[in-house]
């Protein structure tokens, strides 16, 4: 079951990556990043069966960082939306080369 979990987490991570690459809605891209974090959590939990309880602690820290990141990121999205009236990343081209 551990190997299966690891393959599942690889699949979830890749789906998350794909979402970040092909979607243009900033909030969906952000959700896909959370999906990738969750896939990594699954890897940590599966490998903690082999290595020890420390893997589960890392998951705890990753969840805290994900919560902090969600709060700050969504605040940034709100303030961008106030300015551009959209969350489509193609319209945020101020820093584009």
């Amino acid at each position: 079951m551990i190997t299966d979990s690891l393959v599942l987490s690889a699949l979830l991570f890749v789906i998350g990556t794909l979402g970040v690459l092909i979607r243009r809605n900033a909030i969906i891209m952000f959700l896909c990043i959370e999906l990738m974090l969750n896939a990594v959590n699954l890897t940590f939990v599966a490998l903690s069966r082999l290595v020890g309880i420390d893997g589960q602690l890392f998951v705890f820290f990753v969840m805290t960082v994900a919560a902090a990141e969600a709060a700050v990121g969504l605040a940034i999205i709100i303030s961008i939306f106030r300015h551009y009236e959209t969350v489509d990343v193609q319209s945020f081209n101020l820093l584009k080369w």
């Binding site: 079951m1 551990i2 190997t3 299966d4 979990s5 690891l6 599942l8 987490s9 690889a10 699949l11 979830l12 991570f13 890749v14 789906i15 998350g16 990556t17 794909l18 979402g19 690459l21 092909i22 979607r23 243009r24 809605n25 909030i27 969906i28 959700l31 896909c32 999906l35 969750n38 959590n41 699954l42 939990v45 599966a46 903690s48 069966r49 082999l50 290595v51 020890g52 309880i53 589960q56 602690l57 998951v59 705890f60 820290f61 969840m63 805290t64 960082v65 994900a66 919560a67 902090a68 969600a70 709060a71 700050v72 969504l74 605040a75 709100i78 303030s79 939306f81 969350v87 489509d88």
Partner: protein
């Protein structure tokens, strides 16, 4: 029995993840995400990480997803059906890149998970201290400094989010 449950919820987690990427409606994407996170928490239970399964449901599927839902509804994106998938080359290249990434990841992870022993070191700790105690003991002894820094991180995140989302900065 647990294998059947594992494959069932693995399929649900994958389906939810695909729903996030493919969903037109942001709210539908978000609910697929909740499905995916809930299925992952069942898999955590099957991997004997009971405390993390509970935290996953409460913090991830509960708090963080509700935050996302609030923002989607605050910005009134619930009926924003404009197609936002990239097209042609911008669709082919990421799919190829993702396929390559999956090849690399699954190769490495399979190698890491290969020596699947019968008795796990986690079981011994859970047997001795209980599901929560097994995590709490190293958290408050060996990892206490990262734990406190995490508290500071959350404080900074609160202040930062308030400062950013305020009406006039």
């Amino acid at each position: 029995m647990s294998d059947v449950l594992f494959y069932m919820f693995a399929a649900l987690a994958l389906g939810g993840a695909m729903g996030v990427v493919a969903g037109r409606n942001p709210v539908a994407s978000l609910l697929s995400m909740v499905l995916s996170l809930g299925s992952t928490s069942v898999i955590f239970v099957l991997l004997e990480a009971h405390f993390l399964a509970a935290v996953q449901v409460i913090v991830y599927a509960g708090a963080i997803m509700v935050l996302f839902l609030f923002v989607i509804m605050l910005l009134n994106l619930g009926h924003d059906y404009r197609p936002d998938l990239r097209v042609t080359l911008w669709l082919i290249a990421p799919v190829a890149a993702a396929g390559a990434l999956f090849g690399i990841l699954s190769r490495g992870l399979r190698a890491a998970g290969a020596p699947a022993g019968t008795d796990s070191p986690v079981d011994a700790a859970v047997e001795e201290y209980g599901a929560i105690g097994a995590i709490a003991r190293p958290l408050y002894t060996e990892w206490v400094v990262p734990f406190e820094i995490t508290g500071i991180l959350l404080l900074v995140a609160i202040v930062g989010a308030l400062a950013l989302a305020k009406k006039r900065v």
